[in-house]
Amino acid sequence: LTKLRPHFDDLLPPAEADLLHQRSLDLLWDPGIKFNCHPALDLLERHDCRVDRERLVVQIPGELVAEALKAAPRVVRLAARNLDDDLVLDGSDVHFTLSSQGIHTIEPETGALRETTSTDLGHAMRLADALTAAEILNVIVAAHDVPAHVRVLHHLATSWTNTGKHIRTGVLEAEQVPFLMEMAEIVSDGQAVTERGAIFSAIDCTISPLQHHPSMTVASMALAEHGIPILVYPMPLAGATAPYSPAGTALIANTEFLSSLVLYQCLKPGASLIYGIGPATMDMRSGAFEYGPDAELSTLMLAAMAHHYNLPLNTAGLGTGAKHLGPQCGWEALAHATLSVLVGSDEAYGLGQLDDARVLSLEKLVYDAEQARQLKRLFRGVDFDHQRLLADVIARVGFDNHYLGQPETRDLMLAEIEIPKLDDDRTQAEWLAAGRDEQARFTRVVEGILADHQPPPLPERAPAEIDRLLDQAARQLAVEAES
């Protein structure tokens, strides 16, 4: 059986890919990359980069990039606390991730925003644990009820308590890493990093143009040393932190990615990295970032580069700038996610938030998971062989007959057809009578899942050990924060 998948024909012709790569190499050398942290400078200096310690700038030679590209693996394994939820990023499927970094959610009575809490995070994680198509669970919102210096640890504790799936988070301070690793061992009975992969991964956002975050990079280096995969995520904003052209924006992003690739491969040859793609265009009316057509063009260029480098890639997916579940949410989320699937992403981002990943919506999470499930059908493509062409059946049925009663229809139906769930069959009149409400039917699903779904339990002694660890971290990290 041949699987024919949708694909772009010669998306970035070799000459254009070479040019983009070559200009990235040029920029890595001149002006170089501002790493903003000494551990990175020290490491890269040992690997024959030219380092300006005063300006914190590293000039990276092309040969080092070539070596790093050779060392980085195509296949990245993302394990999970629950063995059945292990994932392998090898190009054979697209995996949807939760959205991340949200700060607000909507008060149902007033529609107004309020800050998110640990309870919101826990609910989102437990809900996503039950939704099959949510596969990589980003820490979707911040728990504002927890002190900032230990927030990441609480995020992970809440997440692991509520899901057995792979978790992803950004870590801003290297001091948090030992605690995180210990917690990962506690929740997995000492299986945090195995040949199945690590049970969590981290995101390292570069800072456009051509900079790295001073503390996030150090923390991510510490995690990478432990074998935690890193999603490198440049987010250039065309016209503001990147040139106002899809290619120029892509060039900034690719250059920043390559600088991270060199860093992590020098640190640990063979380190698992994911090529993240997060370009945006500045909305000239509001100054906000916007994922519009030009950003999609940059995405296409960068996805082609990830394929060119033979690395797993993460694209924008089901995100939207819409403020409610309505037409704009439909066309933005699905147009972007369809593009993500078509371009052969290993990971497609963005379940569960509105307003450009700022506002948590559990209702959207439910709907997004169903859309993700349907989009996986698009990714699978068409099964093509003589058995599936059914030429004999076409001859047998002829003109005056139908296919309903044919044995092949019965036998192949389930393999070919994905039955949509959560379709909204309300008439215009019913919809208007409901005040154009799109939430209620998803709210019922959310409530049902939160009432019934039990995530895979933690090891028996884990809750107490996590509490102990969080206490210890609160004391120790507070002292360090003060000093």
Partner: protein
């Protein structure tokens, strides 16, 4: 970079083609028309007079494919709306067709569609720069059925100077169309040279045609009017349940049309239709927007290109019966696939409920979504100039690109995409304004309907169109 979406390999196209030739030769197709069979018999087909079928030798198919043009030129009343569809040209948006109901713009009530709905949709589409071709978007249920289709077309010609797609179902309708077209374009010859309308002709799956439709198609093809050859096998019911199988059946039926219309008039322009869809397992009926929908067109688009024919692709299909989240979640998925596949015709703006119900707000919003997609489909250059390496060096690590002259120039020559529908500011500002997409679109539609006047036909022409419409009784 230009994104060109594909699915089939050339080998897979060849396999489907060979199976198509084999089945056309071995099983054949029921044409359901004496006139068609007479012609096909002369062309070398084996005709069964009782069953009204023809078996088509492969050399006949091959020879008809050779006379099928690679370009299709369509015209409007005004030459400014003329365009040619061919490989490498931009896609053309054509409205959805054959709806039976409409959502009233003012009351929001859904009801059977009327002649006024058709005229309003035509006038709106005439004003929308993204629409290239109008269509019989809804039927006028308030008209006398015996001539309704003719009067609908007269209304379309009067309310737009753009190209019009029609779906005649009898010889009389085709004759009326030719007469109307010749009147507007100046002569029968002028109509052939600049076809004001083109016709969609649809088979009856599996492997059959409807005689009166075939005869309408033959009349129009004879006059050199471009045809969109269409078939709508329903996978699992009137077609094989597999994507590969329903593609094969759709292709066989399309080739049976290529043979007929190229035999009528070698060189008549044809657009390859991709109308296959999946049965709704719950109701047994046609349903738009299923999870397979974005996939089902792709192999057919590839086949059309493999044959060198322009192709009609399904855009915004949705099963949603109201203009909410699902309408666009469904629609955006297949529209994205269709646009990125560079289908020549981008079909399906304006209807909800599996192409049954007109919503003028949807028509407006659809074209806004299309506008964004066009910007992606044309691609973007990856060149020394567009990479702006020197600007990146100049800005360095701390600077901003906002003040750079290249940014200013870029913003001027290629302004950022500004959607006209949706919320793009802060959440709080949106909550304050409580402005929703439906209302934004309704307001724009009302403004257009209040202000836009299509280019009028010359004095007396509308009366003459009505005289022609009344003269050709359909049934």
């Amino acid at each position: 970079l230009i994104p060109r979406l594909k699915l089939l390999t050339p080998d897979a196209c060849e396999t489907i083609h060979q199976h198509s030739l084999d089945l056309l030769e071995r099983v054949g197709v029921r044409y359901d028309s004496r006139a068609a069979l007479d012609l096909l018999e002369q062309a070398g087909c084996q005709v069964d007079d009782q069953a009204l079928t023809a078996r088509i030798p492969r050399q006949v198919v091959e020879s008809c494919l050779r006379t099928t043009p690679r370009e299709v030129a369509l015209a409007g009343r005004n030459t400014r709306h003329d365009f040619t569809m061919a490989e490498g040209r931009p896609f053309r948006v054509v409205l959805s067709s054959q709806g039976q109901r409409a959502i009233d713009l003012d009351s929001g009530v859904e009801r059977p569609s009327t002649a006024q709905d058709l005229r309003r949709a035509a006038r709106l589409a005439d004003a929308l720069d993204q629409v290239d071709m109008l269509n019989e978007i809804v039927n006028a249920n308030d008209r006398d059925f015996s001539t309704a289709a003719n009067f609908n077309r007269a209304d379309l010609f009067a309310n737009t100077s753009k190209h019009v797609r029609v779906m005649p179902e009898s010889e009389a309708e085709a004759q009326a169309l030719l007469e109307m077209g010749a009147l507007i374009q100046g002569s029968a010859q002028a109509l052939t040279e600049r076809p004001l309308f083109s016709a969609l002709v649809c088979t009856v799956s599996p492997l059959a045609h409807h005689g009166p439709v075939v005869e309408a198609g033959m009349v129009l093809a004879g006059a050199g009017i471009p045809l969109c050859i269409y078939s709508m096998p329903l996978a699992g019911a009137t077609g094989p349940v597999t994507l590969a199988g329903v593609t094969l059946l759709n292709n066989i039926e399309n080739l049976s049309q290529v043979v007929l219309y190229q035999t009528v008039r070698p060189g008549v322009p044809l657009v390859y239709g991709a109308g296959a869809s999946f049965i709704d397992m719950r109701t047994g009926a046609y349903r738009s927007g299923t999870p397979q929908d974005p996939l089902i067109g792709l192999p057919l688009y590839d086949l059309a290109r493999w044959y060198g024919m322009p192709v009609n692709g399904g855009g915004f299909g949705t099963s949603a019966r109201h203009l909410g989240l699902q309408a666009y979640a469904n629609g955006a998925r297949s529209a994205t696939v269709c646009a990125l596949s560079h289908t020549d015709e981008f079909y399906g703006c304006g209807l909800l409920d599996s192409a049954q119900t007109l919503s003028l707000e949807k028509l407006y919003m659809d074209t806004e979504v299309v506008r964004a997609m066009r910007r992606v489909v044309v691609g973007a250059p990856v060149t020394e100039e567009s990479l702006m390496t020197e600007v990146i060096r100049r800005v360095g690590f701390e600077g901003s690109y906002l003040g750079e002259p290249e940014t200013r120039d870029g913003l001027r020559s290629n302004p950022p995409f500004c959607p006209k529908v949706g919320a793009y500011g802060s959440y709080d500002a949106w909550l304050e304004s409580s402005e929703l997409e439906y209302e934004q679109a309704a307001e724009s539609v009302r403004h257009i309907l209040a202000t836009h006047q299509p280019e009028p036909l010359p004095e007396g022409v509308v009366d003459e169109l009505h005289r022609i419409a009344a003269a050709y009784v359909i049934r």
